[in-house]
Symmetry: C2
Subunit: 530 residues, 2 copies
C-alpha cells in the first residue's frame, strides 16, 4: 500500500491546498516524503456531515456486523504491517520490535472490541416487566439499553503512532459502540496515519458501510482540531496527549451551546512506592527493572514511573547505586520529535539549575547529529521540598526519574495524600509490607486508576479489567478508561422504551432474547427469555 497524502473525507480525498507539512525523522532530521496538507473548514464540515449521515445506518447495524468490520480493519493492518512498521520507525524513531508489538496490540484491541460488540451484553440491557394489576396504577413495561452517541472525534497521540492513534483504542471503542469516527491525525506521524486511514477506508468499502463512518483529517496546526470539537454534529471526543492541549480542547467541548463529553487522557507521573521489605529483599533487582521501565520507549509512555518514594537506610544506598550506574552508563535516547526533545531538555535543565532537586546521575550526551536526542536523568529531592512544591510531582515527559527518600510511614501517607490524579501508582513490597501499608492503598485508590503490586506500570494489558484513566489531570473524566473493553462505555448512553410492542423493540430487548445476551430482568441477571 502506498501513502495517499490526502485527508480522507469519507470516500473523498481532501485537496492539497492547505499548509504543507512533512514528517521529520527524529533520529536524522530528514524530511520525509510525501508532503501532507492541512485540511480546511470545508473539509471539517463535510466530514462532520458525512458522519452524521452515516450515523443512523451505522448505529443500527448489528453487533455482529460491526464486529466483522473491526476484524476486517485488523486483518488489513496485518497485511500491511511491514509498510506500517517501516514508516512508523522513520516517523517516530521508536525501535522496530516496539512498533511490531504495537501493530499486534492495535489489532488485538480491534478484535477485543469486535468480540465485545458481537457478544452484545455490553449494552446493559435491562427489563422491568409490566404488572397491569398493580395498585394504585398499572406498572408499565420498561426496557433500556445503551445506544451510541453520534459522531466521535479522536485525536491521535504522538507516543503510540498505532495503538493510540488512527485505529487505536479510542477509534475501536467508538466504532464498536456504533459511532462514526473522525480522526485528527497527529502531525508527527502523518504517513503512518495515512496508511492506517486507507486501511479503514478500504474496510468500509468492502463492508458496504456508509462512507461517513470514518474520516481522517490532517493539520499542521490546531485549527482543524478546534473546529471539530466545536462542530454541532460532533457528539463526543477522545483525546490522548499533553495536559495543555487537552485542557484547551476540553474547555472548548464544555463551553459549546450543547456541551459534549470529552475524554482526555493527559498527564501522569505514576508514583512508585518502594516499601522496606521489598527493598531489603531484592532492591537491586527492582532498581534495574525500574531503570528499564522509566526509560522504556525513551520515557515517553503515559505510564512511565516518574516519582520514586524510597525508604532511607543501607538497602536504599545500594538501590540508588545501581540506579545511578544504570543512568550514568545509558547512551543517548531519541525522542519522538525535536519539539519533545527541546521541552525535555528545558525541563531537565530547569530542574538541574533550580534549588528544588539535585541531579544525581545523567546519561551520556547523545550525538549532536540526532535532532531529537535526549539523555536519561536521575534527580533526588527530600520530602519537605516535595510537599512544598507541587511542580515536582508534575509529568516530565522523557527518560527521567525523581527520587524522594522517606524515613517513616506517615511521610509516605502525606506524600500520597498530596498527589493529584495519576494513571497508575505502583507498590513494591512483601505481603507484610502491603498489610502494614493498607492505608496507603486506600489513599491511592482515590488518586489513580490502576494500582500495580510488584510490577511496573509501563505494560498496559488490553483486556476487560484494565483501567487506563484516573482523576484529573491524568484524565478529564475519572469515570472513564481509554484502554480495555470498559472504554466502550464512554461512547454510549442509555435509552429506555416504555410499553413497546415486542416487534418494535431492538433485538437486545425482545422477549425471547434472540441475541442470547446477559440482561437484568426484574433485577436478576439472566440470559433467559423475559
Amino acid at each position: 500500500m502506498s501513502i495517499l497524502a490526502r485527508s480522507l473525507i469519507g470516500s473523498r480525498d481532501g485537496t492539497p491546498e492547505g499548509t504543507g507539512f512533512r514528517a521529520v525523522n527524529p533520529a536524522t532530521g530528514e524530511s520525509l516524503d510525501p508532503q501532507f496538507h492541512s485540511a480546511n473548514i470545508e473539509d471539517v464540515r463535510l466530514a462532520a456531515q458525512l458522519a452524521a449521515d452515516a450515523f443512523p445506518v451505522y448505529a443500527n447495524l448489528s453487533g455482529r456486523a460491526r464486529a466483522s468490520f473491526l476484524r476486517a480493519i485488523a486483518a488489513k493492518l496485518e497485511s500491511i504491517a511491514g509498510s506500517l512498521v517501516e514508516r512508523a520507525a522513520r516517523e517516530t524513531a521508536l525501535p522496530l520490535p516496539r512498533l511490531q508489538g504495537e501493530v499486534g496490540r492495535t489489532c488485538g484491541q480491534l478484535r477485543l472490541f469486535a468480540q465485545v460488540a458481537e457478544e452484545g451484553s455490553w449494552v446493559m440491557a435491562r427489563i422491568d416487566r409490566a404488572a397491569p394489576d398493580r395498585q394504585p396504577a398499572p406498572k408499565p413495561d420498561i426496557r433500556s439499553m445503551l445506544r451510541p452517541l453520534g459522531p466521535v472525534v479522536v485525536f491521535g497521540a504522538s507516543n503510540f503512532p498505532l495503538a493510540f492513534s488512527v485505529a487505536g483504542g479510542d477509534t475501536a471503542s467508538a466504532l464498536a459502540a456504533g459511532n462514526p469516527v473522525i480522526v485528527k491525525a497527529h502531525p508527527a506521524h502523518p504517513g503512518t496515519s495515512a496508511l492506517v486511514g486507507q486501511a479503514i477506508r478500504e474496510s468500509i468499502r468492502e463492508s458496504s458501510l456508509p462512507e461517513g463512518v470514518f474520516s481522517l483529517l490532517f493539520d499542521a496546526g490546531t485549527s482543524v482540531g478546534t473546529q471539530l470539537v466545536q462542530h454541532a454534529l460532533v457528539k463526543a471526543v477522545g483525546f490522548t496527549g499533553s495536559q495543555a492541549a487537552g485542557r484547551i480542547l476540553f474547555d472548548l467541548a464544555v463551553r459549546r451551546a450543547e456541551p459534549i463529553p470529552f475524554f482526555g487522557e493527559m498527564a501522569s507521573t505514576n508514583p512508585l512506592f518502594l516499601l522496606p521489605g521489598a527493598l531489603a529483599a531484592h532492591g537491586e533487582k527492582i532498581a534495574a527493572d525500574l531503570y528499564g521501565s522509566f526509560t522504556m520507549g525513551a520515557g515517553q509512555f503515559c505510564t512511565k514511573p516518574g516519582l520514586l518514594f524510597l525508604g532511607a537506610g543501607a538497602p536504599s544506598a545500594n538501590f540508588l547505586k545501581v540506579l545511578e550506574e544504570k543512568v550514568s552508563s545509558a547512551t543517548g535516547f531519541t525522542l519522538l520529535t525535536s519539539g519533545i526533545a527541546s521541552s525535555y531538555a528545558r525541563q531537565t535543565a530547569s530542574r538541574e539549575q533550580g534549588a528544588k532537586a539535585k541531579l544525581v546521575a545523567r546519561g551520556t550526551a547523545a550525538q549532536s547529529t540526532i535532532p531529537a536526542a535526549a539523555s536519561a536523568a536521575l534527580f533526588q529531592t527530600d520530602i519537605s521540598t516535595f510537599l512544598d512544591d507541587p511542580n515536582l510531582a508534575e509529568e516530565h515527559f522523557g527518560p527521567s526519574l525523581l527520587v524522594i527518600p522517606y524515613s517513616h510511614k506517615q511521610q509516605l501517607l502525606d506524600c500520597a495524600r498530596s498527589l493529584s490524579g495519576h494513571l497508575t501508582a505502583t507498590i513494591h513490597g512483601t505481603p507484610e509490607d502491603l498489610e502494614e501499608h493498607a492505608e496507603l492503598v486506600r489513599v491511592l485508590e482515590t488518586k489513580v486508576g490502576r494500582i500495580v503490586f510488584n510490577g511496573f506500570p509501563t505494560g498496559v494489558e488490553v483486556n476487560h479489567a484494565m483501567v487506563h484513566g484516573g482523576p484529573y489531570p491524568a484524565s478529564t473524566d475519572s469515570r472513564a478508561t481509554s484502554v480495555g473493553s470498559l472504554a466502550i462505555y464512554r461512547f454510549a448512553r442509555p435509552v429506555c422504551y416504555q410499553n413497546f410492542p415486542d416487534e418494535a423493540l431492538p433485538e437486545e430487548l425482545k422477549n425471547h432474547n434472540p441475541l442470547r445476551i446477559w440482561r437484568l430482568v426484574d433485577g436478576e441477571s439472566t440470559k433467559e427469555p423475559s
Copy 2:
C-alpha cells in the same frame, strides 16, 4: 419531630446569622415559621471538610452496611410522614395525595438503592486472571471494580420537595455508591428539607457513621451553591432545576482547576406524537388523558408533555374539541412559588401576544388571593412556524400545551429531527402506526432518554430499566439518568488492581467471591469463584 431551623453541618448546627428567609405558602401568601438563615462560607468549608474526612470510612463500608443506613433513613421518613406531608403541602401547595405518594416514592428509592448496594453486583467487578507463562511477557492478574468518587453536592429541586430533594434519588444513589453528600436545600421548601435532613442526621448517629456523611445547607440566594460546586474537596454534583441555573453551575464545575462531573437534569418539553390510527380509534380518550398529564402537578413535572404533533383532519377536530373543553373549564392552578407563577404568566402572555402561536383555550382565571395562581393554556401553531422558531420547542413550566398539526409523515420526521434533547418522547399509535413510523422511533432514540408508547410520560417508574435523562438541555450528560438504579453509575469510577495478593483485594475482587456477586471473569459473566 419539630423543625430545627439550622443548616446541618455534620452533627453540628449552623448559626442563625446569615440572611433570614421563610417559606411562603404559595396558595395563601402566608410566611411560614420558623425563619431559616443562609449558610456562610465557613459552613461550606466545614461541610466539605467533614465530608472529605468521612469519605475514607464511608467509602470502605460494606454494601450491606450502606444498605442498612439507607433503609434506616427510609424508616425514619415513614415515621414522620404525617409531619412531612403536612409541612410540604404548606410549602408547595401540592395536593396531599401527591405528597403522600412522594413520601412512598422517596422511601422506595432509598430501598431500591439499598438493595443495589447490598446485592453488590453493580460495581462491575472484572477479573482477568494471570498467565505467568504467556510469551513474550507474563500476563499479570488484573481486577477492577467501581469505587465512589468522594463528596457529592446535591441541589434539591423545587417541584419534588421529597423525591428529588434532600433524600431524593441523587442523594440515595450517591450514598449507595459510597459518597458523602452535601445537600443545598431548595429555599422554597426549607421546612420539609429540614425535617428530612434531621432524619438523615439521626440515621447517621444511630448507624455510628462519621458525621460528615451528610450535611444540609440553607441559602436564600445562590452563593452557597456556587461555593459548593467550586470547592476543591467536592468531587461531583447532582442537580435538578432550570436550564438557566443548571448551566451556570455546570460552567462552574467544568471551569474548576480540577473539573468535576456535573449531572444536571434541566429543561424538557417532552413531545408527544399522535399517529393516525390511534387518533381515529380513540382520540377523545387520549385527549382527556393528555389533559390530565400536562396539568398534573399543575404542569410542574420535568416530564410534562408540552408539545403535541397531531394529524390534520376530522378526527383531530374532535380531539381538539375535547382538549379545548377540558382546558376552558379548568379552574385555576396553584404553582410552587409566586416566582414560578410570574414566569409562567409572562411566558404565556408573551406567546399569546406574539405572532408565532395562537391561544386556542384558556382555563378560568384563578382567585386573585392566591399569589402563585395560574390558569391552563392551550396554544396552536403550524409546522413551518414551529420549524422556523426554536423557542416554540422550549420548556414552558406550568399547565400549558402547544399543538402542532401535521399533514404527512415527512413533516413529523422533520419536526423530530429539529428537536434538541428532551427527557421523553411519547408516541400514541396502533402497532401498524408504529411499524409505519419506525424511522420516527430511530430519530427519537437520538433525542430523548425514554420513549413511551401509548402512555404518558408524567409517571416515572423507579426501577432498574428507567432512564430519566437525555441529550442537552434535558441533561448536561446524556450518558446518565437521575432516576432508577442506573443513577448510581454517575457517582463511581473504575479502579484496577494488578497482581495484588488475594488478602489485600477488596471483598468484591477476592478469588472465592465472598459476596457472591456477578463478575466478568476472563470475559465470562459468573458468580463462581475465580
